[in-house]
């Protein structure tokens, strides 16, 4: 991609954040400025200039696309004479319906997965989740954990790298004569057949580094030493001068499994527990309305967000030769924000139809909190009820409150 195309792509990406009515004009201005900068100021960092389009686009989105969550927190906004102020709806129409919300999350998750599979560092980590947990690896060294350290952080490839091959050849005067993945058919958990187990060579060598082409050497004695329950192994021979000096060493993949999803789910469960504790003793809180549909929606949303956070963190930290140790930090912060969004989204949905509540109206004023209720009122488009969110907690309205509307109100709504 040429620099010009790259800079235009940055501006077009930023333009997606700009509200539709102003997008064309906004993009025309930035493209015009870009053109003039490239002609008149060759020494300037054009990329940095283009990246500055994002704060501009964000500003327009916050201030011109209508109601923003931040504006709710602006306490210095004077109330209107009537004490009631209505806002345009949030630009969240795409997420309003629960089905569309889940569909968008699924698309985002698939996008993260696709990006991960395209990244050379993230791909083997993602594919490693498909490996049999009791696959056995051959270690060319006497200590099996050396490979795990040498391969880098969170790199569970059941193999050793080509660089390690070269290093071993140079320093250990050894030579790998073969490296193949086998599936054992003669081994089963708890019992072992007499004699040498049958070996079946699999054609899929994609798990092996750099498609090492070597001569296959069958050593029927080696599988006999495998622990029960082993489903397969990677076999290689490190030859020191002659075959007699060769030795095999096996380590189990399950000794160093990739636990990304396993790390995210407990974090989500903990956050959910924390939320439950925080909402304990609030009889008016509509979060206590547990229905199967609502619980299923929450579970599906949580699982999709866990996938997005786990794979997205991996994508973001997959640079260089291995996954960066920053992965854990990104994962932690990502989980925090994801849980926060899940909770906020769930609280802002109608407990009956699960659609996002709309038509926010601010009522009252902070200076008159002793006289009247002060906060924001949301309404379900289908007329199922209204949600009152206090801006300043008072004795009589400390938490948000859901009020159901009866069927008699149905005529006022879209239905």
């Amino acid at each position: 991609m040429s620099p010009v195309a790259f800079h235009i792509a940055i501006l077009r990406a930023a333009a997606l954040l700009v509200p539709e009515p102003r997008r064309t004009d906004w993009l025309a201005e930035w493209l015009s400025e870009l053109w003039h900068i490239r002609r008149d100021s060759p020494g300037i960092n054009v990329t940095a200039f283009c990246v500055g389009a994002f704060p501009d686009a964000f500003w327009l989105r916050r201030n011109e696309s209508g109601f923003s969550s931040l504006s709710l927190l602006q306490l210095d906004v004077p109330p209107t004479p009537t004490g009631i102020e209505s806002f345009p709806d949030q630009g969240t129409a795409a997420l309003a319906s629960p089905v569309r919300c889940l569909a968008w999350l699924a698309i985002l998750g698939m996008l993260c997965l696709a990006i991960g599979l395209l990244l050379p560092v993230a791909r083997p980590v993602l594919l490693s989740m498909l490996y049999p947990r009791d696959l056995v690896l051959l270690s060319p060294l006497n200590e099996g954990d050396v490979i795990a350290d040498a391969n880098g952080f969170f790199d569970p490839r059941p193999s050793i790298s080509w660089e390690q091959f070269q290093w071993l050849k140079a320093h250990d005067d050894g030579e790998f004569s073969d490296l193949r993945y086998y599936e054992t058919t003669g081994l089963s958990a708890g019992r072992q057949r007499h004699g040498a187990p049958a070996l079946r060579w699999t054609e899929d060598l994609s798990v092996l580094p750099d498609s090492v082409k070597t001569r296959l050497v069958r050593d029927d004695a080696a599988p006999n030493a495998l622990p029960p329950g082993t489903k397969g192994f990677v076999l290689a021979r490190l030859r020191h001068g002659n075959v007699r000096n060769s030795h095999y060493h096996f380590i189990r993949v399950s000794d160093r499994p990739f636990r990304t999803l396993g790390m995210v789910l407990p974090a989500f469960l903990f956050a959910g527990l924390l939320l439950r504790i925080m909402n304990a003793g609030s009889p008016e809180c509509h979060l206590r309305r547990i229905s199967a549909r609502r619980s299923l929606f929450l579970a599906a949303k949580t699982l999709l967000m866990a996938l997005i956070v786990a794979v997205g963190s991996l994508d973001l930290t997959s640079f260089g030769h291995s996954v960066s140790p920053l992965f854990l930090h990104v994962l932690a912060f990502g989980s925090l924000f994801a849980v926060r969004w899940i909770v906020a989204d769930q609280r802002n949905r109608c407990p009956v139809c699960l659609r996002l509540l709309a038509h926010p109206v601010r009522i009252g004023g902070s200076s008159r909190i002793l006289l009247e209720w002060h906060g924001t009122e949301f309404m379900c488009d289908r007329g199922h009820g209204m949600l009152y969110v206090p801006e300043w907690p008072a004795i009589w309205s400390a938490r948000q409150r859901w009020m159901e509307l009866g069927a008699s109100w149905g005529g006022l709504f879209l239905g």
Binding site: E33, W35, H36, V51, G52, A53, L60, N63
Partner: protein, 105 residues
């Protein structure tokens, strides 16, 4: 009212730059030394508050010079009043911004 607005130093610099004849975004960036991510949102805010006004250059002028048209910014009357108030608040403001060639200051 606009004259009662108290501008930040950055916003006052941008207003002063426009008043000095630096009438498009990159010109303001160059003369103030501020990054694009600061200048453009600040100009949006100033325009929203009615202190500056933007207009597109005529297409015929741009066509004659074989370049895309530019968007120019000018001060409004409340903008000038606010700038005068800001100059009292930030006395060195005028020294920071040089007058552009062909500027109107």
């Amino acid at each position: 009212m606009a004259t009662e607005l108290k501008l930040s130093h950055t916003a006052a610099m941008i207003l002063k730059a426009i008043e000095s004849g630096h009438v498009y975004g990159f010109g303001v960036m160059e003369v103030t030394g501020l990054p694009s991510g600061t200048v453009y949102p600040a100009m949006r805010r100033l325009e929203r508050d009615g202190l500056i006004r933007s207009r597109w250059e005529k297409q015929s002028i741009a066509d004659a010079e074989q370049r895309p048209p530019r968007k120019y910014y000018t001060l409004t009357t409340p903008g000038r009043a606010t700038l005068e108030a800001s100059e009292k608040r930030y006395p060195l403001l005028a020294n920071l911004i040089p007058i552009a060639v062909g500027g109107n200051a």
